[in-house]
């Protein structure tokens, strides 16, 4: 039996036959090449697994684009499954965004596609597979198909001496009963940049350097908190977009799909651990050693006692600009449907699962407010394709009226974590016509109906 999403993948594949005729773009020399292939990853000497990756590694290569300058990427699929690459956080046309639901053609097994697009906006983005996994906790985002993408602006977002890209990921998933009685993925191993703590090369720094960390949560389903022992982190961008109010924080929280750019003043020489704050995830391997030049010894970890994070401090604190124009509300009621204690839950938006979900078509140029009303007992990282949005309210009581005078301003993102049994509202301008996918970035949730295709009128 195939899922409706599998059916759509196959349909998109059939459509592909007419979209990428052999040699049609053969004259274009690609700026980058990506090869999708199975490989054996060594997460540590004790943890080896077979998975699918980009260019032989997980995470894949750092791709650096210049904002506004067209780029061509050749993607070769060496697997026996149809694939698709989503360029997460970019304002792209539907045929290259990388979601078959929007109409992007799948790359057939053993096939090649050349994608040309003009990358924007500037900032820290990423790319990953946008296929479904269903019950197979080794496929899609459960595997190793993720990589960093930096769209460089005309000016750097901040001064720094050294930058590191860090991907938080969870591996070897298995289904376990959670407290609400349904099955949910859990993981045996967690890594940073594909390595268990201590198994990879350390981040090497020098005293007094200013280091810029680009942190990505590429986990298929898990929210992560990370801290750098002995150091504070100055957050300057969320999801690649500069925040109105940079804040110095003791730890970062990233939901699946989220990114944080944080500067660190390296003013505490020694050998430290940058790692997951929660003990069981830390013990599962999520950490990396940070080593000052000339320092030696056992890496040190300072265990925080609390989980600290909030979106609000990064928004404008004293808005002086004109408030945004009135937005048309789109209420989206999020609920789960029990399918048995031996199954994962199905997901509903306004009472329906994808592909039956729908809302009134968007009018180009109009501003909309997505009201995420989460009646479920799960937190959800909600992602909007091909647009970014402005976070207006976070974690409000369900049913709270929108109060424009107290709403957040200036916080631009493309993923927002909506806590269980709360309401969060974001606004966006419908300025990129074409089918636009909104979905939960948890792989198991999007596989089981948590997607909505917004269409332009």
């Amino acid at each position: 039996m195939i899922s409706r999403r599998d059916f759509l993948e196959r349909s998109a594949l059939i459509a592909l036959a007419g979209r990428f005729p052999s040699g049609a773009q053969a004259e274009v020399t690609p700026d980058y090449t990506l090869e999708i292939a199975d490989t054996t990853l060594e997460l540590s000497p004790r943890h080896r697994l077979r998975t699918t990756v980009y260019n032989g590694a997980a995470p894949g290569p750092v791709l650096r684009f210049r904002e506004g300058r067209a780029v061509t990427i050749e993607v070769t699929n060496r697997t026996e499954r149809a694939e698709i690459v989503h360029w997460h956080g970019l304002f792209l046309p539907t045929d290259v965004d990388g979601a078959m639901e929007e109409g992007t053609p799948m790359i057939p097994p053993r096939g090649t596609a050349r994608l040309t697009f003009t990358p924007r906006p500037a900032g820290f983005r990423w790319y990953h597979t946008h296929t479904s996994a269903m019950q197979d906790l080794t496929r899609a985002q459960y595997g190793g198909q993720h990589g960093f993408l930096l769209i460089e602006p005309s000016a750097d977002p901040g001064r720094y001496d050294r930058e590191f890209f860090l991907a938080l990921h969870d591996w070897s998933g298995y289904l376990a009963a959670n407290e609400d009685g349904a099955m949910n993925p859990s993981y045996a191993v967690s890594t940073i940049n594909g390595k268990v703590l201590g198994a990879g090369e350390p981040l090497r720094v020098k005293p007094s350097e200013r280091v810029l960390l680009h942190v990505l949560n590429s986990s298929p389903t898990e929210v992560h908190w990370v801290a750098l022992a002995g150091h504070a982190l100055q957050v300057i961008a969320l999801d690649g977009n500069a925040v109105p109010t940079p804040q110095t924080v003791p730890m970062l929280r990233l939901a699946p799909g989220e990114r944080v750019c944080a500067r660190v003043q390296m003013n505490n020489p020694g050998v430290w651990i940058l790692g997951e704050v929660r003990k069981h995830v830390h013990a599962a391997g999520m950490g990396i050693v940070v080593e000052y030049a000339g320092a030696s010894g056992t890496p040190r970890w300072q265990q925080p006692s609390k989980l600290l994070w909030s979106y609000e401090p990064f928004a404008e604190q004293h808005p002086a600009s004109e408030p945004p124009p009135e937005a048309t509300p789109i209420p989206l009621l999020i609920e789960s449907r029990f399918r048995g204690h031996g199954s994962m839950e199905a997901w509903l938006i306004n009472g329906k699962s994808y592909p039956d979900t729908s809302v009134t078509p968007l009018e180009s140029g109009r501003r909309y407010r997505l009201q995420f009303i989460n009646r479920s007992t799960d937190d959800h990282p909600l992602h909007l394709h091909r647009h970014s949005f402005e976070v207006r309210t976070v974690g409000a009581a369900i049913g709270s009226p929108f109060a424009p005078e107290t709403a957040l301003r200036g916080l631009k993102k493309d993923v927002v974590l909506v806590d269980a049994r709360t309401q969060t509202e974001v606004e966006f301008v419908a300025d990129n016509p074409g089918a636009t996918l909104m979905h939960c970035h948890q792989q198991n949730h999007m596989d089981l109906g948590f997607m909505l295709l917004l269409r332009y009128a």
Binding site: Y174, Q303, P304, G340
Partner: protein, 261 residues
């Protein structure tokens, strides 16, 4: 254990006369989490059972058995349980019957096995007025699987007498089985089967075996509470013919957990 079946001690005429029905439960592979204590009260009433006193063992008819089960989670792969068995009956009052201890290990879920697998071993004492076999030992493999709304658990238990008339009978086979179905998130229903086939080296005829079928419902009202209610009928001459059972459990998390644990 007197555990998973009412059949753990023998009612068989060919064996020493004894009574069970203290804990009527098919075990799943899931363990009590570390630093958690599960307190369960098993209340079993024999509506229609044995009416005669045989070999000094009280009749089961109209006996009310109250069993307190305390299970402490040790690690993510082990737990230990302790039982206090009591019996209440007209003419005998409330009596302490015996105690058992039950260590158990389970295959961690992180191993990714397609079915849940666990093994418990139970050893304990019961008074001769309730069982001529005063010391017994049981090894209980536990295999279970949830598939969608369906749940299947099998407990092919082996048990033997350590002290008492049946001490030379060797290992007996006392399997238990459960098939459940989730009607809703909070309400499941199913069938539980308990049997005691007697000694493996000398399996008695069917009418001397114990065979019992329970119609049960499980109410999953909270992760901290469990409630199982059932009505069972005995299918052989040697089995109590009608029993009503109830298991009420409450889990206590006594660990000092913070958000980072």
């Amino acid at each position: 254990m007197l555990a998973a079946a009412l059949l753990d001690l023998s009612l068989l005429p060919v064996l020493a006369n004894a009574q069970g029905n203290y804990e009527i439960q098919v075990y799943g592979s899931e363990l009590v989490p570390p630093q958690n204590l599960m307190v369960e009260l098993h209340s079993n009433y024999t509506v229609e059972g044995q009416t005669q006193t045989l070999d000094g063992v009280y009749p089961t008819q109209h006996q009310e058995h109250e069993t307190v089960e305390l299970t402490e989670g040790l690690t993510d792969w082990s737990e230990v349980g302790f039982y206090i068995f009591t019996s209440e009956q007209d003419g005998h009052g409330v009596q302490w019957v015996g105690d058992h201890i039950r260590p158990r290990v389970s295959v961690p879920q992180s191993w990714g096995w397609p079915v849940g697998v666990s093994v418990s071993t139970e050893i304990g004492f019961q008074r001769t007025a309730y069982s001529p076999d005063t010391w017994t030992w049981e090894i209980r493999p536990i295999i279970d699987k949830s598939i969608g709304r369906w749940y299947l658990a099998v407990n092919p238990a082996l048990e033997r007498t350590l002290h008492g008339p049946d001490v030379h009978q060797g290992w007996g086979f006392a399997p238990a089985l459960k098939v459940g179905y989730d009607f809703t998130q909070g309400v499941s229903g199913g069938i539980e089967y308990y049997a005691d086939y007697g000694p493996l080296n000398n399996i008695p005829p069917l009418h001397e075996q114990q065979q019992q079928l329970f119609l049960v419902t499980d109410l999953n009202v909270s992760p901290l509470w469990e409630l199982n209610i059932g009505v069972g009928v005995g299918a052989t001459r040697s089995t109590d013919h009608l029993i009503v059972k109830c298991i009420l459990g409450r889990r206590f998390d006594w660990g000092r957990h913070s958000a980072v644990d």
